[in-house]
């Protein structure tokens, strides 16, 4: 009895599959494409500024060049591994990472640099705007010890709390605190989400908070955090992480792509090589994305308003 039942099911399924080959309005052969663009796998690193780059590049690739775009949400380090496994074709906003460049570009030769994005990256310590307004001298690191007691939290013992964010970001903060003789303890928020949520709450509730942050970042459009000045950066002052006592180096953000993919020299490769824009451009798109606009809608809005820039990316050669 059981056997007959299984046969009935099998027969029904076989019949269904046999039927799938004819009729209907779905074409069974791929539509012919004008350019051999194929699929582009873009890594999406976990911050919204990055997503803005992705949104616009993906939109242009899809609508102007007819490519298929696959997005992969990954952390920075993991994205680089994707070059070796052919799962990632391009990283659209890279912050420094000299070690990864050495490993994947120089040693393994699976990745190549494909130019700057035009964005300038700043990393440093920030305070919520209300704090900078009420205590203007707080933005100089020399005065931080004066306020250390107010920065104290349940997590920092007798010291002030310096909040760090996403573990995948490069930081020297423990050394900085020690070398600048600050009465602060580094506390790890553990993720960018936790960090932003903490800053948002601090501004809403007028609480003391100082933490690691960076620009360009959409959140700054919501809550314009204020940069705290550490001793100015000079070339090489951060060479030894043990003795570093200066602000973070400014970053020229760039794009990294998979070597074998770049060798295809497809129109998509050409477009991504040429892609550059400003911090202001990125913040506009990022804000829209953070306000829950879809990638495509946010990108379309910006692309329609900036045809010249887009055309420059699409120029041949």
């Amino acid at each position: 009895m059981r056997i007959r039942q299984s046969w009935t099911i099998a027969a029904a399924l076989a019949g269904a599959l046999a039927l799938t080959s004819c009729g209907g309005d779905i074409p069974s052969t791929p539509p012919s494409t004008q350019a051999p663009c194929g699929t582009v796998n873009i890594a999406v690193n976990p911050w919204v500024g990055y997503e803005a780059n992705v949104a616009v590049v993906a939109y242009v690739l899809k609508t102007k060049l007819g490519c298929t775009v696959e997005l992969k949400s990954l952390t920075e380090e993991v994205s680089w591994q994707g070059f070796g496994s052919n799962t990632v074709d391009v990283v659209l906003e890279n912050w420094g990472h000299e070690d990864l460049k050495k490993k994947y570009i120089d040693d393994q030769k699976v990745a190549v640099q494909v130019g700057a994005t035009g964005n300038k990256g700043i990393i440093g310590w920030y305070v919520p705007p209300w704090l900078a307004t009420q205590y203007p001298d707080i933005t100089d690191y020399k005065n931080l010890n004066k306020y250390a007691a107010q920065f104290k939290t349940t997590e920092s013992g007798n010291l002030g709390q310096l909040l760090l964010g996403d573990p995948s970001f490069v930081t020297n903060d423990e050394s900085l605190v020690k070398n600048l003789k600050l009465n602060f303890k580094v506390v790890y928020a553990g993720s960018e989400n936790a960090l932003i949520e903490a800053f948002r709450t601090a501004e809403e509730q007028k609480k003391f908070l100082i933490g690691y942050f960076y620009e360009p970042q959409w959140f700054l459009a919501d809550v314009p955090l204020v940069h705290v000045n550490l001793p100015a950066y000079t070339a090489g002052c951060d060479a030894d992480p043990k003795t570093v006592a200066c602000d973070y180096a400014p970053y020229t953000l760039d794009k990294i792509a998979r070597k074998t993919w770049v060798d295809l020299a497809s129109p998509a490769v050409n477009m991504i090589k040429k892609f550059t824009w400003t911090n202001e451009d990125q913040n506009k798109v990022a804000k829209d994305i953070a306000d829950k606009m879809s990638y495509d809608d946010a990108a379309k809005k910006w692309v329609d308003a900036n045809p010249d820039k887009v055309n420059a990316w699409l120029a041949a050669g």
């Binding site: 009895m1 029904a12 949400s73 591994q81 994707g82 995948s168 989400n193 936790a194 509730q205 829950k292």
Partner: protein
């Protein structure tokens, strides 16, 4: 027995006040020494510093990286596995989730998938779960999560298929051979007990990121239940049935095929249910290494702090998990029923006709979904679906309101719990010199759990010392202990309430099921908004995660107390409170012990997630090691340290519970309502509905 009992009673006074007294003395000594020597020899290590051991792990990673394309081991073996798993997963995605075979849409569209799933649920289960399946699949479509759900389904299906193909034969083999069992069991323990985020980095190292690695990670976690339950099923077949066929001259193979396997069928199907649910609990983890699906929705929403969208994504996971759970449970009940007796002739006939008719309709639906766009792509807006954004907005509004209005209350709670409980405890555990803590742990294990535990404890402590992460381990231990205490207290309170009122149980149980499957990632952001990036936030997340299991185990344990005992209590004029505290709780003491042990393991399994919201210590190090290349070795070591901490706590508490049980046994001679703590040994199952042997054993 009697002599022992008498001996126990007539022993000297220090023996009689014995254990509690000794424990109190140890704790007192610890507090005194800890205060005097506070801050000395705590073996702290700055977060960005590494030891030689960590650097060696990192060097191994670099070696693997640079030999990946040349060593035959990688080129043929590792990449071979990768390609095979990737091929299988890709094929399933071609069928239901991605454009394939030169078409702009997958082969089987939404109508076909809903029809197939519903038909399958009816064929293997019953009409009720069929309706549930249709409703569940349609609702994820309405939430605008169709394609992501199908990706998740394809990935889970690939992992479950591979688990069964490997796990069932292996389980049979283990079931037939005791020596093999002794070798395999500890391996299975390790596979399940290790926090999944811990082996993610090494796994990505070998298999690189992408769907194959996601399936393999899922496989490692999901395979043990089916192996365990298959071997249990095979072994359980009673000697009489086997002897009967043996006397008829059946060979070993014939006995296996005609007696053991058919009789074990039901248990094996329970194993399939467990494996499916375990695979499903890995959806979020899979997303971290580029596995497509619902996990990606949640991760992406979180990076924009869109709590509502993250919740909706999580809800999709919950809906699919509950559907799969109910269908596989119904399938195991059907397996049981067909084994017992082939029920009423008439209902069987009706059912057969329904199957034929349903099969034809399903075939038609599959055909339509392969040929027409309307049946292929789920109707409604592509983003957010028909109702998705409505849910998002409601949740976001609720989250915003809570953050704005409850912040004062929650920061007061944070202050009270942190200064009153967490900080003092951490000062004692993490800021006492390491030798004091070691001595205390060894003394406590000796007193409570016996000499054998002292060996386990000293091995674990030495490993923690060797890891170079002693102080971090102690900070994590503090949080784990606090979370476990809260979980057990809540578990007992709510367990009693649930057990005493079937009506509340009816309402609360589905909520507990859902809470267990909802990924912790979903509620992390609102918790940070309320409690800040603190250890308490991590503790609360762990409590929310572990509480459902603990509540269920306690409730089931209390319900299993014989009604005669309860009635005797009521008849002798006890108040309701007295019945609970004097009859029900003492008689379900083992269930409470098991619940505490499970609570502990569940809490440990989310230590890493706690690292994402401010718990720092080991959890943070694992996360950092996963994302920063220089910290790879340190992160890996931190992962191992979590496992060691888990083994230490698990073995010592188990041994202590076992000893307490034996002692009670000896004193009362009461063998009823005892269950063997060892055989009820359970394993962490993040996100599993605990319809595991747990509840049933009790």
């Amino acid at each position: 027995m009697t002599t022992v009992a008498v001996a126990a009673r007539s022993s000297p006074w220090w023996r009689r006040i014995g254990r509690p007294g000794i424990v109190a003395a140890i704790l007192l000594g610890w507090i005194l020494l800890g205060t005097v020597l506070q801050g000395r020899d705590t073996l702290g290590l700055p977060t960005t510093d590494t030891t030689a051991l960590h650097d060696r792990f990192t060097a191994v990673r670099d070696w693997v990286d640079s030999h990946r394309n040349s060593s035959p081991f990688f080129v043929y073996f590792v990449d071979g596995i990768r390609d095979f798993v990737g091929g299988l997963t890709g094929f399933l995605q071609d069928l239901i989730s991605q454009a394939s075979f030169g078409r702009p849409v997958p082969l089987v569209g939404w109508l076909g998938v809903v029809a197939l799933a519903t038909f399958g649920a009816y064929a293997f289960g019953n009409a009720r779960v069929a309706v549930l399946t249709a409703a569940g699949f349609t609702s994820v479509g309405l939430m605008g999560l169709w394609q992501e759900s199908m990706d998740t389904l394809a990935l889970t299906l690939a992992a479950v298929l591979l688990s069964l193909v490997i796990g069932i034969p292996l389980g049979v083999y283990v079931g037939l051979s005791r020596p093999v069992e002794r070798v395999v069991t500890p391996v299975l323990d390790a596979m399940q007990a290790m926090p999944t985020l811990v082996y993610l980095a090494p796994l990505a190292l070998f298999f690189l990121i992408g769907p194959p690695a996601a399936v393999i990670a899922t496989l490692i976690y999901a395979m043990p239940p089916v192996i365990r339950l298959t071997s249990l099923g095979v072994r359980q077949v009673n000697e009489a049935s086997m002897e009967a066929s043996r006397s008829l001259g059946a060979t070993r193979w014939q006995i296996l095929r005609t007696v053991q396997l058919p009789l074990a069928k039901r248990t094996i199907v329970v194993g399939i249910n467990q494996t499916t649910m375990a695979a499903f609990s890995m959806v979020m983890i899979a997303a971290l290494i580029a596995g497509p699906g619902l996990g990606q929705v949640v991760l992406r929403a979180l990076s924009a702090l869109d709590v509502g969208r993250a919740f909706t994504g999580g809800l999709g996971i919950v809906v699919l998990a509950i559907v799969l759970d109910r269908v596989t449970t119904a399938a195991s009940e059907r397996a049981e029923a067909t084994y017992r007796a082939s029920g009423g002739r008439r209902s069987e006939n009706t059912r057969r006709w329904l199957l034929v008719g349903g099969g034809a309709l399903t075939a038609a639906a599959v055909y339509l979904s392969a040929s027409y766009y309307w049946a292929s792509t789920f109707p409604g807006p592509t983003r957010g679906g028909v109702i998705g954004f409505t849910i998002d907005d409601a949740v976001n509004a609720a989250a915003d309101w809570t953050r704005l209005n409850l912040h004062d209350v929650t920061s007061a709670i944070t202050a009270v719990v942190s200064y009153g409980l967490i900080n003092p405890l951490q000062a004692l555990i993490a800021e006492s010199p390491w030798y004091v803590v070691c001595a205390v742990v060894l003394a406590l294990s000796w007193t409570l759990a016996g000499a054998r535990s002292v060996i386990v404890a000293s091995v674990c402590l030495s490993l923690l010392l060797a890891s170079g992460l002693w102080e971090s381990a102690m900070v994590t231990l503090t949080s784990v202990l606090v979370a476990t205490i809260i979980v057990v207290v809540l578990g007992v309170i709510f367990g009693v309430v649930l057990a005493r009122s079937p009506r509340i149980d009816l309402v609360v149980r589905p909520v507990l099921d859902a809470a267990q499957v909802l990924p912790a990632f979903v509620y992390l952001v609102p918790f940070v908004g309320l409690f800040g990036p603190t250890r308490l936030t991590a503790i609360i997340a762990a409590v929310v995660f572990a509480a459902p299991v603990v509540v269920k185990i306690v409730a089931d344990g209390i319900r299993a107390v014989p009604s005669a005992a309860v009635e005797a209590g009521v008849a002798s004029g006890s108040s309701r409170w007295q019945v609970v505290t004097k009859v029900q709780l003492p008689l379900s003491r083992q269930a409470v012990a098991l619940a505490a042990n499970q609570g502990l393991i569940y809490v440990l399994s989310v230590v890493v997630i706690g690292g994402l919201v401010g718990a720092g210590a080991l959890g943070y190090l694992v996360v950092a090691g996963f994302s920063q290349s220089e910290l790879f070795g340190k992160g890996l070591t931190a992962g191992i340290a979590i496992v060691v901490l888990g083994i230490l706590l698990d073995r010592v508490t188990q041994a202590a519970a076992l000893r307490a049980q034996e002692r009670e046994h000896r004193l009362t001679g009461d063998a009823e309502h005892q269950f063997d703590v060892r055989s009820a040994r359970l394993h962490p199952a993040p996100g599993l509905p605990a319809r595991i042997p747990t509840g049933r054993v009790v």
